[in-house]
């Protein structure tokens, strides 16, 4: 899921070259897919219309998502464009992380919002099972077929029926670093987990804490685990664990946690120590890495492409003061590519809800937000010129080039009570693990117990 945020609408700064990064991220060379630009006029207003929408004058529509701050502003622009084209009136309601709880209150009274931007595949599945979600219409499916790879379409489907549209996505296999600290320590970008440990040690010796972890938000920890696990145990095991076909007590999980403990468990590795990290919200984990002059709280911070929004809040310049490298390969595996995303799903039968899904599946909608920054679209028809800078353009091209060769965020595929609720399930178990990395067996037992319960409740 993407939890990005920032407070000011400072546009993301123009940057130095970062094309190399993009290639590395995708793990595949060459000039990755600059596919089917829809004749977008580069940098211009997203006025090109590639999708026909019905006239919906006077119809009202309500959309819920977790976005606040600049993300809310950017998404509102997308909705404004929809209003302009259809005449419908759209309102936006931000919710807390437990979005299904919020929607549940409205379902209890029989008036759900019309469209929800769910953060997890698991939440989509549950919404379908509870019969909250409505299938996508023909128009939407046509757009999806035209603009989305099979893999991204399937993520929005449950048991063969298409429900959701992945509007916003994230590459969650990136580590961002403070170049001044790296230069001072003489450290270089690590390619493997081993090198990452050495780099951490070097940086620590230079007097800066190597790592910033936003442990107050449990999802950053699940992302850590998933990247290690995907690279170490491989994609097949990853998929099976995601479906709970193998248990959390499996030796592969033990290995992944042991690997993580090798990093988290070292003294002076995490800014503020484990206790401090557990009090650090994700946005702070980024800003504290790129502020404080020659005494930043940490040298590196791991998370998705959306980190750039938070960096934009600091004085640091992306591409010079702040750089990024792909998550290193663990134990000889492939470097992982874990993605996340927000999926739009209709909760009412209104034609306007379907029209909005259709719009969100079109490159027109993606272009509006892409221009605002902090956005990554799986829409292959989106002209990369729509992105405001090279770093993001590079990440986007790499994502499209990767085609279906990625893995979706595991915790987001699981029932929300296990994989996506603050203070519960995997979030909580990994927070406890961060506090006490020695307790690998206990962490696994707890994960398995919670997972079993969540799946038993119909996940």
């Amino acid at each position: 899921m993407m939890r990005t945020t920032a407070r000011k609408r400072r546009t993301v700064v123009a940057l130095a070259a970062a094309g190399a990064l993009a290639l590395a991220v995708a793990g595949c060379g060459g000039d990755g897919g600059d596919e089917g630009g829809s004749g977008g006029d580069a940098g211009g207003e997203g006025t090109t219309q590639t999708v026909r929408l019905p006239k919906l004058d006077g119809q009202r529509l309500q959309v819920v998502a977790v976005w606040t701050g600049p993300e809310q502003e950017a998404f509102t622009k997308v909705l404004k464009e929809f209003e302009k084209r259809t005449g419908a009136r759209v309102s936006y309601v931000p919710t807390q992380d437990a979005m299904l709880n919020y929607i549940g209150t409205k379902i209890a009274g029989g008036s759900p919002p019309d469209v929800a931007m769910l953060q997890q595949v698991g939440a989509l599945r549950q919404a379908v099972e509870r019969k909250w979600a409505k299938p996508a219409g023909a128009e939407t499916k046509a757009q999806l077929a035209k603009n989305y790879s099979r893999g991204w379409q399937d993520l929005g489907a449950v048991d063969g029926t298409q429900y959701g549209v992945y509007f916003k996505t994230a590459n969650k296999s990136l580590i961002w670093y403070n170049t001044a600290v790296f230069d001072n320590a003489g450290a270089s970008e690590p390619k493997t987990w081993k090198e990452l440990l050495t780099t951490a040690e070097t940086i620590s010796a230079s007097g800066v804490t190597p790592l910033s972890v936003g442990g107050a938000d449990g999802w950053t920890l699940t992302d850590w685990f998933e990247n290690v696990y995907l690279s170490q145990a491989g994609p097949e095991k990853y998929d099976r664990l995601a479906k709970h076909e193998i248990k959390w007590t499996d030796p592969s999980v033990t290995r992944a946690l042991t690997t993580l403990a090798g990093l988290f468990g070292k003294p002076d590795t995490i800014a503020g120590g484990a206790a401090g990290a557990l009090q650090t919200e994700f946005p702070t984990s980024v800003t504290q890495t790129f502020t404080g002059g020659d005494r930043p709280k940490a040298a590196m911070v791991f998370e998705g492409d959306f980190v750039s929004i938070n960096i934009a809040q600091t004085e640091a310049k992306l591409g010079t003061d702040a750089k990024v490298f792909p998550f290193p390969a663990v134990d000889g595996g492939e470097p992982p590519v874990v993605t996340g995303g927000d999926v739009a799903v209709a909760l009412t039968e209104k034609p306007a809800a379907q029209a909005l899904l259709t719009f969100l599946a079109s490159p027109d909608a993606a272009a509006v937000w892409a221009a605002q920054g902090g956005f990554l679209s799986p829409n292959k028809s989106l002209d990369p010129a729509a992105y405001p800078n090279d770093v993001q353009r590079g990440i986007a091209k790499a994502l499209i080039a990767a085609g279906d060769d990625f893995r979706f965020d595991m915790s987001d595929q699981m029932p929300q009570s296990f994989g996506g609720t603050p203070g519960k399930g995997e979030w909580k178990a990994l927070q406890d693990f961060l506090k006490n990395p020695k307790d690998i067996a206990g962490t696994q037992a707890r994960l398995e117990a919670d997972a079993a319960k969540a799946y038993a409740n119909g996940g």
Partner: protein, 289 residues
């Protein structure tokens, strides 16, 4: 209550002076301590987001140049916030008026009308004083959904009215019961019907109690978040709900949250300072709520 009988000996006089001094200092410290959180919010709301994330609000005490009204200007231009303030008013005023009207009708009936089982009915209503609102969230959601007032301002108003009634009836019935019987009898002899009697005699005499009740209910509804979170029109949420939506990323949205919280406090604080006496007597009577 400063004056006391003077202590007998000079030594004990000195001791009591000393004790008085200690008391004064202690109370000053406590008062500052009590004010500090609110002052912190106020000063934070007057600083730029980068100042807030960089240092504590107390820095503004020594560097007043930091203070700026930008955050306030921004939220007053922010439709979500201004609309939500309007929604708060649209919910609070009717919910207060309705409780006063319906409560005083019932209070009068319980005080001065004869009907079978009157005292038992009254006790039953008083028993409802302590029912937590949480009990009603799910069932009333379903009920409102069926009737079509879920997600409407009317729904929130009705909910607040219902949960305000036990206290209203309790307070007003007791107050009305103190009205001298002769006054009512005299009016009855003049041929006044119950409705006239109620409107012309009882309501005017009940002024102080109604004021207390009104202020109490007003603040209660104005400050509510939970009920509105569930029942209010999510396109027109009151200020508490609108701010709650921004709490997910507290540190990042502090430039909205701090001034927003302060704006939401202005009306209750104004009411509080303007009507301290009524508020206090309302609180005292409502001690059971």
């Amino acid at each position: 209550m400063g004056s006391r009988t003077a202590p007998a000996s000079p030594a004990s006089r000195l001791a009591s002076r000393l004790a008085g001094g200690v008391t004064q200092v202690f109370l000053v410290v406590v008062a500052l301590f009590w004010l500090m959180p609110t002052v912190g919010l106020l000063l934070s709301s007057l600083r730029s987001p980068s100042d807030i994330s960089g240092s504590g609000w107390w820095e503004a005490l020594t560097a007043p140049a930091q203070l700026t009204a930008d955050n306030y200007a921004a939220i007053l231009r922010n439709d979500t916030i201004t609309d939500s303030l309007l929604s708060t008013v649209m919910i609070t005023v009717p919910a207060t008026v309705l409780v006063v009207v319906i409560g005083s009708l019932a209070g009068y009936a319980f005080a001065w009308m004869e009907f079978p089982g009157r005292d038992w009915w009254f006790l039953a209503v008083v028993g409802l004083l302590v029912v937590p609102v949480q009990v009603a969230l799910v069932p009333v959601s379903k009920l409102f959904g069926q009737v079509g007032v879920f997600e409407t301002t009317l729904g929130v108003v009705l909910f607040h009215t219902a949960f305000g009634l036990p206290f209203a009836i309790f307070l007003l019935r007791n107050f009305f019961a103190e009205i001298p019987r002769e006054l009512l009898e005299a009016a009855r002899l003049d041929g006044a019907g119950e409705i006239r009697l109620f409107a012309r005699v009882v309501l005017p005499l009940g002024g102080p109690a109604i004021a207390s009740l009104g202020i109490f209910q007003f603040l209660w509804v104005w400050n509510d978040m939970l009920v509105a979170l569930i029942f209010a029109d999510s396109d027109a949420p009151p200020i508490t709900v609108a701010l709650q939506q921004q709490v997910r990323q507290f540190g990042n949205n502090i430039d909205v949250l701090a001034p927003g919280a302060f704006v939401s406090m202005v009306v209750p604080l104004a009411v509080f300072f303007a009507f301290q006496r009524q508020f206090v007597s309302g609180v005292m009577a409502g001690a059971v709520k």
